[in-house]
């Protein structure tokens, strides 16, 4: 072997040794955080001991091994964000167990996802839970006093509109202001009344369990006009000013006309995010309205020029979805097409959005 060969061989061995050393050092310094890692095993050991007691509290939904802000293995404790006393539960949780740090995660209740979530209500997003302000639209809401005759009522806070410099939640007349007789609750809907999120139907009919997000501005669209709409002026800080809608996001400030076979979607309290297509135009439809929640008949209204949407099995629109905004079925900044308000188990009905906006003197809040 020549001296050059030996030199090259030596050099190669040297570099190989250096590389191995670097690898070993790196591996020792950042071992993978799997269940063989000593710190992870330490958390698992604590988790096994404390989880049964923690989950005696119905507000605690589960535990897991995670990491804290310093990437140090820690015990994750999942707390139900919808629980009325979530704050108290969090305050009472220890910050560590036997030297293992505790990280608290507020979450919706865990639920099994159906194989096909296309009919809405899935995706892990709650359309009925109380939201941390500022809220997104497409959520449960209604008039704070919509309780009469043994029932409470509500619908969907569908979208955000602008009138002048003020923003308003848009929903239906029959969701916000259709209580027009003292009747069973000795009250009628009045400008200034709180609009709450969620609606009474989702807080066991107790308005104190909901939050005021707007104040009613009575527009009395029915029975005399051709739209079933109403608005509440937002309470500052309570509603996303970009008008974002759950599972839809922000929309366009522009609107579009309806056409047959057009794909549409909506986000509402009962069926969540759902999709369908327009099956009819220019509908003349007769709809009967009550005079308060579970009350008597107030009037029967014949609408003209309405939009008809396929609603087989009420999968697109069901009771409680009233007030949802119907938009074109595209991903980014969809344009509004109609305000959903009525239907049956075969067809849903929407006011053309331009008629609604014209009646209100409003524009959609969007990009």
């Amino acid at each position: 072997m020549s001296s050059i060969d030996r030199f090259i061989r030596t050099l190669a061995k040297t570099f190989a040794g250096i590389a191995s050393g670097i690898f070993c050092i790196t591996a020792f310094a950042n071992p993978p955080l799997d269940d063989s890692h000593p710190a992870v095993r330490a958390v698992i050991a604590v988790q096994g001991g404390v989880t049964p007691d923690l989950m005696q509290q119905p507000e605690v939904l589960g535990t897991a091994v995670g990491v804290d802000a310093n990437e140090t293995p820690a015990l994750l404790v999942y707390v139900d964000r919808d629980a009325n006393n979530a704050g108290e539960v969090i305050r009472n949780l220890p910050r560590e167990f036997r030297g293992i740090g505790v990280q608290i995660h507020l979450t919706d209740k865990f639920r099994a996802f159906p194989g096909n979530g296309g009919h809405g209500g899935g995706g892990g997003v709650s359309h009925t839970a109380i939201q941390t302000p500022p809220i997104q639209l497409g959520t449960s809401g209604g008039w704070s006093k919509d309780l009469a005759n043994g029932y409470c009522c509500g619908g969907t806070l569908g979208s955000l509109v602008q009138i002048g410099s003020s923003q308003y939640i848009l929903s239906n007349y029959h969701v916000f202001e259709s209580d027009i007789v003292p009747g069973g609750n000795n009250t009628v809907a009045t400008t200034g009344d709180p609009i709450i999120q969620p609606g009474l139907i989702d807080v066991n009919c107790s308005a104190s369990s909901a939050q005021s997000v707007a104040t009613l501005l009575k527009k009395s669209s029915l029975p005399n006009s051709n739209v079933d709409c109403s608005i509440g002026r937002v309470v500052s800080g309570k509603v996303r000013t970009d008008g974002a809608i759950l599972e839809i996001g922000t929309i366009s400030h522009l609107t579009m006309g309806a056409s047959i076979n057009q794909g549409v979607k909506k986000s509402g309290r009962t069926t969540g995010l759902t999709r369908s297509s327009i099956s009819g135009l220019n509908a003349t439809i007769r709809v009967t309205y009550d005079n308060e929640c579970a009350g008597g008949t107030a009037f029967t209204k014949t609408f003209t020029g309405q939009i008809v949407i396929a609603n087989k099995g009420s999968k697109f629109l069901n009771s409680g979805d009233s007030g949802s905004l119907m938009v074109e079925d595209i991903v980014t900044n969809p344009r509004a097409v109609g305000l959903l308000f009525a239907g049956s188990s075969t067809d849903a009905i929407a006011n053309p959005i331009n008629e609604v906006l014209s009646f209100l003197g409003a524009t959609m809040v969007g990009n």
Partner: protein, 104 residues
């Protein structure tokens, strides 16, 4: 020569008649379906059990038609609803009552 002329005349006559017949049998344009609906919707809504009427498409997905919404299936109602209006097919559809979709 005369025979030839004769047959030419017969031929010209035949062509002229066919053209004329074709012109007489072409259908006159229909009114816009929305205008037809506007003129008939109130009348249709007076038929018991009818809750709505709208412009839709036949099952072929192409042919415009008028759809009449029924609260429930009824032979009496079916017989009262015309099969066509001003050249447009009229189709009944059992939808149930159309009601506001707030709760309960």
């Amino acid at each position: 020569m005369a025979t030839r002329l004769f047959w030419v005349l017969i031929l010209m006559l035949a062509i002229g008649c066919r053209h004329n017949m074709a012109q007489n049998s072409s259908p006159s344009p229909k009114r816009d379906i929305n205008a037809v609906l506007a003129d008939h919707d109130k009348q249709l809504l007076t038929i018991p059990n009818v809750v709505g009427v709208y412009v839709g498409l036949l099952e072929d997905g192409k042919t415009p038609c008028l759809k009449v919404m029924l609260a429930r299936k009824s032979a009496d109602t079916e017989s009262a609803v015309p099969r066509s209006l001003e050249g447009y097919p009229v189709v009944t559809e059992v939808t149930g009552e159309i009601r506001p979709l707030g709760t309960p």
